[in-house]
């Protein structure tokens, strides 16, 4: 069963050309997330990888209702969310929790850990006040924090402990799914390893599903069952993690996977134009920097179903595509 179904999600930002100027220059709309569709199966982790600025966090924030999508639908446990309805947002937040990237910025510096975690309980209204303390202690233990942390202020905790507090705040009201927005990118490798281990334990213990964002391919490979690759707001490739990592189809994914730093020393590759804005308004967003781009790429390619759950948004794989009702619907949209 799918816990999350996202179809044609589009989030638009108003952008201004000349910053710091009072005049609006080149003001316009920009689709920071464009026509993104994916599924998250119950009990699985869906990983989303991409460069800085590709829109990963925007999708995460949209999933918990912090950004309103301009188009597209988000279904949580089969129920379509209308982002304008307060009841729907409450339903969304009761089922989906979020851990943000920045452990310093996401915890109120003036509250003690206990109060930070309690806020979620108060907001949910499903808990009796008398049960607050026992529930908080239970969840603190669950995420691997010492009881003594409860009276501490965020500044007295280490980076790993702060992320565990965020995790406790998200889980104190039981959730079906967690959105994890680069939860370990600010941590040392050894602390990161401990937090990743905890996340995997919690997932099986509480039957959680994760939406996991990171730019670290080693981490996402280790954490996720399926994987989506995002480039400038567009999904380039979606599939089972093993397939996408070992047999990438889209030229961008190929490039990404060849750049993964390992313990072994690899000769650095020349990287040209990868991070420069190279999108053309109608065509494939990657076409300007793609080494294999050809004429057809000026039209934005649809997602092609390549079998075994792997999809790629690239005309190179048009012939290998398996026609399926799903892919047909995507290309028509």
């Amino acid at each position: 069963m799918n816990i999350v179904e996202v179809d044609n999600l589009t989030v638009t930002f108003r952008v201004r050309g000349g910053s710091l100027l009072l005049f609006e220059r080149g003001s316009g709309m920009m689709n920071v997330v464009n026509d993104v569709s994916f599924r998250i199966r119950e009990g699985e982790t869906f990983g989303l990888a991409g460069e800085t600025g590709s829109g990963k966090s925007v999708i995460a924030w949209a999933l918990v209702g912090l950004f309103k999508p301009r188009r597209g639908s988000v279904k949580i446990l089969g129920k379509e969310i209308d982002f304008r309805k307060k009841a729907d947002l409450t339903y969304l937040r009761e089922n989906v929790g979020i851990v943000f990237q920045d452990p310093v910025g996401s915890l109120n510096p003036r509250l003690r850990v206990k109060e930070i975690v309690k806020e979620s309980l108060v907001a949910s209204k499903n808990f009796d006040k008398r049960d607050y303390d026992s529930r908080i202690e239970e969840v603190i233990d669950l995420v691997g924090l010492r009881k003594s942390c409860l009276v501490a202020f965020p500044r007295e905790l280490s980076g790993g402990e702060k992320q565990r507090v965020s995790l406790a705040r998200a889980l104190v009201v039981p959730k079906k799914m967690l959105v994890l927005d680069e939860p370990t990118s600010s941590l040392d490798v050894s602390v990161q390893a401990q937090v990743l281990n905890t996340l995997r334990e919690l997932k099986s213990k509480l039957h959680l599903s994760y939406f996991f964002i990171t730019h670290d391919i080693n981490v996402i490979k280790y954490m996720s069952d399926s994987l989506g690759i995002l480039y400038y707001g567009k999904l380039m490739e979606v599939g089972r993690t093993y397939d996408v990592v070992t047999n990438p189809k889209h030229p961008f994914t190929v490039r990404l996977m060849s750049n993964v730093p390992g313990i072994k020393r690899v000769e650095l590759q020349q990287e040209e134009g990868l991070s420069e804005r190279g999108s053309s308004p109608t065509g494939c967003v990657y076409s300007k920097v793609c080494p294999k781009a050809f004429e057809k790429c000026v039209n934005s390619p649809p997602m092609f179903n390549l079998g075994s759950d792997q999809y790629a948004a690239c005309f190179l794989h048009e012939n290998a595509a398996i026609p399926s009702p799903d892919a047909k619907a995507r290309s028509e949209a």
């Binding site: 280490s158 990161q192 390893a193 334990e201 490979k221 280790y222 990287e271």
Partner: protein, 336 residues
């Protein structure tokens, strides 16, 4: 500053010997560096790796002499740069070394750059330092050309555009390259890079590492790369120093350390990097958090987290054992 230039042996550009340093805080004294020895040869890229709080940045700052004293207090040791002990130098002499002798790029480019000046003004400041040191007088045109050239060297596609921008208008990768430009335009003989790729994504990170490696090959600039990320260090460094709790735990050629880490701490750092897929076993993470420098254990400072701990480790801090040209501070390396 060059009266001792004849003393410079071509090989040793920097030689730190037994550097021991305290921070005197309100809660008491904290030993942040203990007997740190390090040498760098001309043209080398040396990596300093370790977790937060291991003393990497403190080491970098003490070499360039940017630590406030107090709270910092040097207890022992020497920092010999081009034959001169920087710690014994008259404070008036130090500015002659900064910038043109030893340059530094800081971790947070946004904090390191002045938010109210355009790139142009910030680079000009560096050029003035260079002009003073080399007794040049640069015309505005010459300055402009140098600025464009240095930004081009750092593979910024549109240098003229970047020169007119304020720090907040640039992306993280661009910003970091501007702060690297500020350091290298002064042509330092030693460049200290403190976590220059932290917070950037892998692609921009690779790009910056490429640029640094390329710069090292072309100009022979000696570099010290401070990072918590072993993978970053392993990409471009010739030699690595692994630090823990203010001490150097292991030192050696990058390839040798990568293929055969000897210190259990180095081994743990490697093991903590996720390698497998979702069905792989949990990561063998070191137990506990990085050490609290105020409450360091007796003996080897890593022993509470070490899987191979022996009674000896708890009692006596191990000395440096030299083994196949590598230095390891661990009792396991004794007489093997």
């Amino acid at each position: 500053m060059t009266e001792s230039s004849d003393k410079i042996t071509l090989e040793n550009l920097l030689n730190v010997r037994g550097l021991t340093m305290d921070y005197a805080s309100v809660d008491g004294r904290v030993r942040v560096l203990e007997n740190v020895s390090l040498r760098m040869q001309k043209g080398e890229i040396v990596g300093i790796v370790g977790e937060s709080g291991s003393g990497k940045t403190t080491l970098g700052l003490s070499i360039i002499g940017l630590l406030d004293k107090p709270p910092a207090e040097i207890i022992n040791g020497s920092i010999i740069f081009e034959g001169n002990d920087l710690l014994k130098l008259d404070p008036i002499e130090l500015p002659h070394y900064r910038g043109t002798g030893i340059g530094m790029v800081f971790q947070e480019a946004l904090a390191a750059l002045n938010p109210v000046y355009q790139t142009e003004a910030q680079l000009r400041e560096s050029l003035e330092v260079l002009a003073r040191a080399q007794k040049l007088s640069l015309t505005t045109e010459a300055e402009a050309k140098m600025m464009v050239d240095i930004l081009k060297d750092l593979r910024l596609d549109n240098p003229e555009w970047v020169l007119k921008k304020y720090p907040h208008e640039l992306s993280g990768g661009m910003r970091q390259r501007v702060s690297i430009a500020m350091a290298i335009v002064e042509k330092p003989r030693l460049l200290i890079l403190d976590e220059v790729t932290t917070g950037l994504d892998v692609y921009v990170q690779n790009r910056i590492l490429n640029i640094l490696k390329d710069l090292n090959r072309r100009t022979g600039t000696t570099m010290m790369l401070i990072t918590h990320d072993l993978m970053v260090a392993s990409q471009i460094c010739d030699r690595l120093y692994v630090m823990y709790a203010g001490r150097v735990m292991e030192e050696g050629k990058t390839d040798a350390i990568l293929s055969n880490p000897k210190h259990p701490y180095t081994q743990k750092l490697f093991a903590a990097i996720p390698q497998g897929f979702v069905d792989s076993p949990p990561l063998p993470a070191p137990i506990g958090e990085p050490p609290d420098l105020r409450k360091l254990p007796t003996g080897c400072k890593f022993h509470p987290r070490c899987p191979f701990v022996m009674q000896k480790c708890k009692d006596i801090e191990p000395p440096v054992f030299n083994e196949d040209g590598r230095n390891v501070v661990c009792w396991l390396a004794e007489k093997t």
